[in-house]
């Protein structure tokens, strides 16, 4: 950990000049810095969640924030509907609440407040109300956790009009996307790939918030033979696949969606049309998952450019298995490479 408080506040002082400090950070720590920066930039940013104050969150993403920001970091009663419901009220009062849902599998008690209230309130008020609420959700498997701690439920929220859904795949995006999500006047479901919390990379801190980053996919690697579309925890897998494939003489393009809803259809279709072959990877069950939307969208816009059907690699259509079987459940290098083979054979 090379960042110091001094560096961070230096970042704040000079933010208008877009000066950034670069330092090696884990993804979890990048999120922490993103929150800190957002709270310094705007005193209306408040955090709500279970165990986020003195504990700093079960993944330590809010570590040290209660010490710096006092009662702007709230340990709530244990009630997810309450967390989102009160966040809505705070947003109506002009605050910008950032909620932490402790684990993916515990967002469902808040489903009604998210889907029937948060997502719809702006439209319901004919655009009069703004609901700048960010809901952070550690997502996905691969850490050997017990039940309900490894879910990938992005499809539910992507299907819900009125929400933005974002997933970060590496430390820089974690920092940038989180700040952009908090600065955004819409509700944002913000997914943090929990098994990547400890991934480390150089991260540029400070600088102004780039709102555009929120809706844009990013080509992480250019390629010509096929496109691998991924997001969140699968970004690292996709990169690994591209490397292995390269060593076998196959050139893969890797597209990190980042914004899961709305989709960056332009970027997706550019890549699909260019390579003519697409594999989409996610941890969530394939059935009516985001991969289905990717496949359908690509077919719709790039039908005549496609050399093979879009391949979907994802979780099987069964409840998340016990930890010791998750290795077989989660898409990995082999399964994605297999799909690449299929799509390239097509």
């Amino acid at each position: 950990m090379t960042i110091t408080a001094a560096a961070a506040s230096a970042g704040k002082d000079t933010q208008d000049e877009a000066a950034t400090t670069t330092t090696a950070l884990t993804l979890g720590r990048s999120l922490n810095e993103g929150l800190r920066q957002a709270m310094r930039d705007d005193e209306r940013v408040v955090l709500l969640g279970e165990d986020i104050a003195s504990l700093g969150g079960v993944f330590r993403v809010t570590d040290g924030l209660a010490a710096e920001f006092g009662d702007r970091v709230v340990d709530t009663p244990l009630a997810e509907s309450g967390i989102v419901g009160t966040a809505i009220g705070l947003a109506l009062r002009g605050y910008r609440p950032v909620c932490e849902i402790q684990f993916d599998g515990f967002v469902y008690p808040a489903f009604d407040q998210i889907v029937s209230q948060l997502a719809k309130m702006r439209a319901r008020s004919r655009g009069l109300l703004r609901l700048p609420v960010t809901i952070r959700i550690p997502v996905g498997g691969g850490i050997g956790a017990v039940e309900h701690h490894s879910e990938s439920n992005e499809a539910y929220f992507c299907h819900t009009a009125g929400l933005r859904v974002v997933a970060c795949g590496h430390p820089q995006d974690a920092y940038d996307l989180l700040r952009a999500a908090i600065a955004c006047d819409d509700p944002v479901i913000f997914y943090e790939p929990k098994r990547r919390y400890w991934d480390r990379a150089e991260v540029g801190l400070g600088g102004p918030v780039d709102g555009d980053t929120l809706g844009r996919a990013r080509v992480l690697r250019e390629g010509s033979d096929a496109t691998v579309v991924a997001y969140g925890p699968m970004v690292a897998v996709a990169r690994g696949v591209a490397e292995v494939a390269a060593s076998e003489g196959r050139s893969l393009e890797v597209l990190d969606l980042r914004s899961l809803s709305p989709l960056d259809t332009g970027a997706l279709c550019r890549s699909a049309s260019k390579t003519g072959r697409v594999v989409v990877v996610h941890e969530a069950p394939v059935n009516v998952g985001l991969g289905a939307e990717i496949a359908a969208t690509v077919m719709q816009h790039c039908f005549y450019d496609l050399e093979a059907p879009v391949e979907r690699v994802g979780g099987y259509n069964i409840p998340y298995p016990p930890a010791r079987a998750e290795g077989d459940y989660l898409p990995d290098l082999d399964r994605v490479l297999d799909a690449v083979d299929r799509v390239c054979a097509g």
């Binding site: 419901g85 439209a123 008020s125 009069l128």
Partner: protein
């Protein structure tokens, strides 16, 4: 069968004016300065509210509204409570608070739009400090608590006020809100209009112990009041709100009232309740009792009653006119109101929709 019966002072339920219009001066003196002005104002609120409700009901029957949820019988609970608030006290209503809305200055146009199907909520909550209606039961109670947390952050002294029904009290959200309010000491008051019914479900199937006791069990300060006695409601609310404003624990007021009509224009109450029950409640009419009081004390004469009646007719005419003049909604507006900075994909979708529509012109 329901056991919901009219409140009486006996069971710890506050009452200041009995159904015969007799004011209990003794008790009132403790709670409230009862003046002719005050009572006349509340009377007018109730009469206007009732007339609006009646007109909306007719409009629905004539096909001008898709649905209407009648407030008949609940005028005292609503006028008495809303008039105890300061203009900047933020209100989170449920969906039947038409009388309260009217008191806040919301226009018939704004009120009827949702039920005509031209919007889902049409007034500006900031302007009236009155949030749009929430149809998903009890969700608004948590919004109120969150808003109150914000008031506390701002070190402001306004109070947040939320309405819910006896049925809504069974939702998990309602309990989470009570608990959250108590834990955070948020400046919020819950006002439960216990009108005896949740559609066809009597209150007796909704809870086993008085809601006031439940609220106390969560640590709120709670009182019960005769919800058809506008002065009792007004006094209790005033007291509760001022206590909360001064930093006291959050409050809960249960107003015992009665839904004199069906649940909505789609509902036929004969399927599930006795006409006799409504007839019994007729004797507890909230408006009549105030009329009797005004007359008995000489606080109003026939002229006054005639003026109010004619104001009510004017409101009815205006309501009808404004209802019919409501502009038709356009899907383009919903597109634009979905997200703040219309994302490209949504813009393209909207444009395609608009082009498609034009193809029919």
């Amino acid at each position: 069968m329901s056991t919901h019966s009219a409140a009486s002072s006996a069971d710890g339920v506050l009452r200041l004016v009995d159904p015969a219009g007799t004011l209990d001066d003794q008790t009132a003196a403790d709670m409230l300065e009862v003046t002719g002005d005050l009572v006349r104002g509340l009377y007018r609120d109730m009469v206007l509210g009732r007339r609006l409700d009646q007109e909306a009901y007719s409009l629905q029957r004539q096909g001008e509204l898709g649905l209407w949820l009648m407030s008949l019988g609940q005028e005292a609970a609503q006028a008495g409570s809303i008039r105890a608030l300061r203009a900047d006290d933020r209100v989170f209503p449920s969906y039947r608070e038409h009388v309260a809305a009217l008191c806040r200055g919301i226009s018939p146009t704004e009120l009827l739009s949702q039920w005509r199907g031209t919007s889902h909520g049409s007034w500006d909550p900031e302007r009236y400090h009155f949030h749009i209606y929430s149809l998903v039961l009890a969700t608004q109670t948590l919004h109120a608590v969150g808003y109150a947390m914000g008031v506390r952050y701002d070190a402001a002294d306004s109070v947040v006020f939320t309405y819910l029904g006896d049925g809504a009290s069974s939702q998990g959200d309602a309990s989470e809100a009570l608990n959250w309010a108590a834990v955070t000491s948020a400046p919020v008051v819950f006002f439960c209009q216990n009108n005896g019914w949740a559609i066809s479900t009597p209150a007796s199937k909704q809870y086993a112990s008085p809601l006031r006791e439940r609220a106390k069990g969560f640590g709120l300060d709670a009182v019960s009041v005769d919800g058809n006695d506008v002065l009792a409601v007004h006094a209790a609310t005033r007291r509760m709100v001022e206590r909360v404003r001064a930093g006291g624990a959050p409050g809960f007021i249960e107003a015992h009232t009665y839904r004199m009509s069906g649940h909505s224009t789609s509902d036929d109450p004969k399927r599930y309740r006795d006409d006799a029950e409504a007839a019994r409640w007729q004797a507890h009419d909230p408006v009549e009792r105030v009329r009797l009081l005004l007359t008995a004390r000489g606080w109003a004469d026939e002229d006054y009653f005639a003026t109010v009646a004619s104001d009510a007719e004017e409101l009815a005419t205006r309501t009808r006119r404004e209802c019919r003049a409501l502009p038709e909604p356009s899907l383009s507006d919903t597109f634009r109101a979905t997200l703040c900075d219309e994302p490209e994909s949504l813009r393209r979708e909207r444009e395609a929709f608009e082009t498609y529509l034009e193809s029919f012109l």
